[in-house]
């Protein structure tokens, strides 16, 4: 066993010397003893390799060249991990006390049937899931981030086996230095950096790897992938490509999802003509009212209008919204079918895990003629009243 690790470290340093600009995914191929999880096809920001009692999880946080920015090692026996480099975060499996600092991550564990292992969440205001809410009420799940920042003292007092949070993939920059000192392992999720809905959904495998739930995650994702591709194929067959735009203006800026964003991808797969589809950005682009108006005044559909549920609410922000054709036709839809008292929608909790549900909603919105093929009702979306 010890030999294996020496070999790995050797290979890693070899690659560090010769292949800085190569995709680190190849590292895994060159380690025959470690078995790469080849089922991961969509997600590009993480990889998993297995060998007997240990699991390696690699994060590729670097924006352009997909270099490895963090390595997690999950083990069962202490004997398996000797002479491990400092740069590798070691986690003893199975994790029994999990701090999942996002409603999405908590829902991941809920879907994996491990809700009782979750001991902390960031802020319960974003949650709709009844089980999570009731566990929060009985303090089985505590809130660690009610303010802007993580409550460090409470986090350390809780002493979780692992903390899941989001970041850019480099633990040195993403994790509070004081938290790093405590040796509480912090796993950084890069799901938000993925470029396709299926890639984001596949991150359930990342979370599952920490809690020994590979099979379950694989089966959940398999269904999602199958549904999504079937729906996409249905939408592809349609002739009409209705035009659509997104979001509303905050103060001076209208943040429109970029042409390469997750939302743009979903809109494309739903068989629409997203008006900013030719844009090159993965994030949002700040636009002025008149830029949006100039391009989208004749658009047929308008989606994701903040947390607003009625046209009147929309107009109370700016009466000029009424000038959009989509508004006049009543074709304004929002993902607010199910929201909690704070106005936060289930869309933000489970939508990432089940992009097939979002896609089916979108197809129902844009191609009502396909209703017979969709079978189900809307999951997240509703029409503005």
């Amino acid at each position: 066993m010890r030999f294996n690790f020496l070999k790995y470290i050797f290979a890693a340093s070899f690659l560090f010397l010769y292949g800085c600009d190569q995709q680190t995914e190849k590292v895994i191929d060159q380690l025959p003893v470690l078995q790469k999880d080849t089922s991961i096809k969509h997600a590009k920001r993480f990889a998993i390799s297995y060998n007997k009692g240990v699991t390696f999880i690699y994060l590729f946080g670097n924006k352009d060249n997909f270099d490895t920015t963090a390595i997690y090692l999950i083990y069962k026996n202490d004997a398996d991990i000797k002479n491990i480099s400092n740069s590798i975060t070691v986690i003893k499996s199975p994790c029994k006390k999990i701090a999942a600092l996002s409603s999405i991550y908590v829902n991941m564990f809920s879907e994996l049937g491990l809700i009782e292992k979750v001991a902390a969440i960031d802020n319960v205001d974003y949650v709709n899931n009844k089980e999570i809410l009731s566990r929060c009420e009985t303090k089985k799940i505590i809130e660690l981030s009610r303010g802007i920042e993580l409550d460090l003292e409470q986090t350390i007092a809780l002493n979780p086996d692992i903390i899941f949070t989001f970041g850019m993939g480099d633990p040195k920059k993403d994790v509070n230095p004081k938290l790093l000192q405590t040796k509480i392992p912090v796993a950084i999720s890069l799901d938000h950096k993925e470029e396709t809905p299926l890639a984001r959904a596949e991150w359930i495998k990342f979370f599952a790897a920490f809690v020994d739930k590979k099979e379950m995650a694989d089966s959940i994702f398999k269904v999602v992938e199958k549904n999504y591709n079937e729906l996409k194929a249905i939408a592809e067959r349609t002739e009409a490509r209705p035009s659509v735009f997104n979001d509303i203006k905050y103060s001076d800026s209208w943040y429109m999802p970029g042409g390469k964003s997750y939302v743009a991808q979903l809109l494309h797969d739903a068989g629409t003509n997203y008006l900013w589809k030719d844009d090159e950005n993965y994030g949002s682009i700040p636009l002025s009212f008149e830029q949006v108006y100039a391009k989208a005044k004749e658009a047929e559909f308008w989606l994701n209008v903040s947390t607003l549920k009625t046209k009147k609410d929309l107009l109370s922000f700016d009466s000029r919204y009424a000038e959009f054709t989509a508004f006049k036709k009543g074709n304004v839809f929002n993902n607010t079918k199910h929201t909690n008292v704070h106005g936060y929608s289930t869309y933000w909790e489970t939508g990432m895990i089940y992009p097939d549900r979002i896609l089916s909603d979108l197809i129902l919105i844009f191609h009502p003629e396909l209703k017979s093929q969709i079978k189900n009702e809307m999951y997240y979306y509703e029409q503005l009243k």
Binding site: G147, S251, S253, L287, E290, Q291, Y293, S316, F317, G343
Partner: protein, 328 residues
């Protein structure tokens, strides 16, 4: 002397026209063709036009409000923004939006707007009287500014605290008030904004004489037949209505209220306040219009926050005046 002033006013009027055209035609990312200026050009008539008019009204109201405050406090650095009056108005708007959404006041557009305007005016009145009370205890102009700055920080902190306790919906609607913006007024809003601004500015006509007398201080003003206390009250009322009104539609706009009267006194070496009121109207409009044009065309496709531009203009002026004037 008089002839000189006439020439200066003519130049300012020309600048105002140029600034209007710049704001109308370059105050945004889309290109406006003169041939398409028919009444159904939505971008021109519903986006640019209200923004340009808003810039003019905001420039006029804030500058005149600043002029009044500088005279009332006999402090050449005073202004609605630096004394925390804009923040007070903005905080009051935040509170009323929270209360209003609980009472479902905003379901009727007009009542909602009127409610916001009224609360902004109340907020600026409260802070102005608070500052007035404090100003009697301190005799340094700079200390008064520091206190104003602290008040503005306190209002900001309360506003942040409110954000924590509010729901997503109402929260978002008042995050909008946190930053100054000229782009949020519609032509319909102008129907409320413009008349109140005009009435308040016209009301000032009756107080030009007291405004001049107030420069002499309380005792001499009273001795030349001006009722100091009541004139001061009405002037504060006018100034608060002007600041509150503009804050209700645009949020707090930085430094215009301080910088424009200072510029006006630099351009016109006179102590005649009717002259300064007029020139503040012109210079205030010109500066906000130009700021808008710069904010929207300095970097292509990105519109910069208007407060960034006005701060660049206003803050150095305040610093310059602090260095130049050794009388404190």
């Amino acid at each position: 002397m008089e002839k000189n002033n006439t020439i200066k006013f003519l130049i300012l009027i020309c600048l105002l026209i140029v600034a209007c055209l710049l704001s109308l035609f370059f105050g945004g990312s889309e290109r406006i063709n003169l041939s398409e200026l028919s009444s159904n050009n939505f971008i021109f008539w519903h986006i640019r036009f209200p923004k340009t008019i808003t810039a003019i009204i905001a420039g006029c109201t804030l500058s005149v409000s600043g002029l009044i405050l500088q005279i009332i406090f006999r402090n050449p650095l005073a202004g609605p923004f630096v004394l925390g009056i804009s923040s007070g108005a903005s905080l009051m708007v935040a509170i009323s939006i929270l209360a209003g959404s609980a009472l479902h006041l905003f379901s009727v557009f007009f009542i909602g707007k009127a409610f916001i305007v009224l609360s902004a005016i109340t907020g600026s009145l409260l802070i102005t009287f608070l500052i007035l009370g404090i100003s009697k205890k301190v005799n340094s102009n700079v200390v008064l500014l520091l206190i104003g700055l602290m008040l503005s920080q306190i209002c900001g902190a309360v506003q942040t605290a409110l954000e924590y306790f509010s729901d997503a919906n109402s929260l978002k609607s008042f995050v909008i008030w946190g930053m100054g913006s000229l782009a949020n007024t519609t032509n319909f809003d102008l129907l409320i904004y413009l008349p109140i601004a005009l009435i308040s500015l016209l009301a000032l006509l009756f107080f030009v004489k007291p405004l001049n007398a107030l420069l002499l201080g309380e005792n001499y003003a009273q001795n030349v037949g001006i009722n100091f206390k009541s004139s001061r009250f009405y002037l504060i009322l006018i100034s608060s209505v002007l600041t509150g009104l503009t804050t209700a539609f645009c949020g707090p706009i930085a430094f215009i209220g301080t910088a424009v009267p200072i510029l006006s006194r630099m351009v016109f070496k006179s102590s005649k306040q009717h002259l300064h009121v007029t020139s503040c109207l012109l210079i205030g409009s010109i500066i906000l219009l130009l700021s808008d044009a710069i904010a929207n065309s300095a970097i292509s496709n990105i519109s910069l926050p208007i407060n960034m531009i006005t701060t660049f203009i206003g803050a150095p002026l305040v610093i310059y005046l602090m260095f130049k004037n050794k009388t404190w």
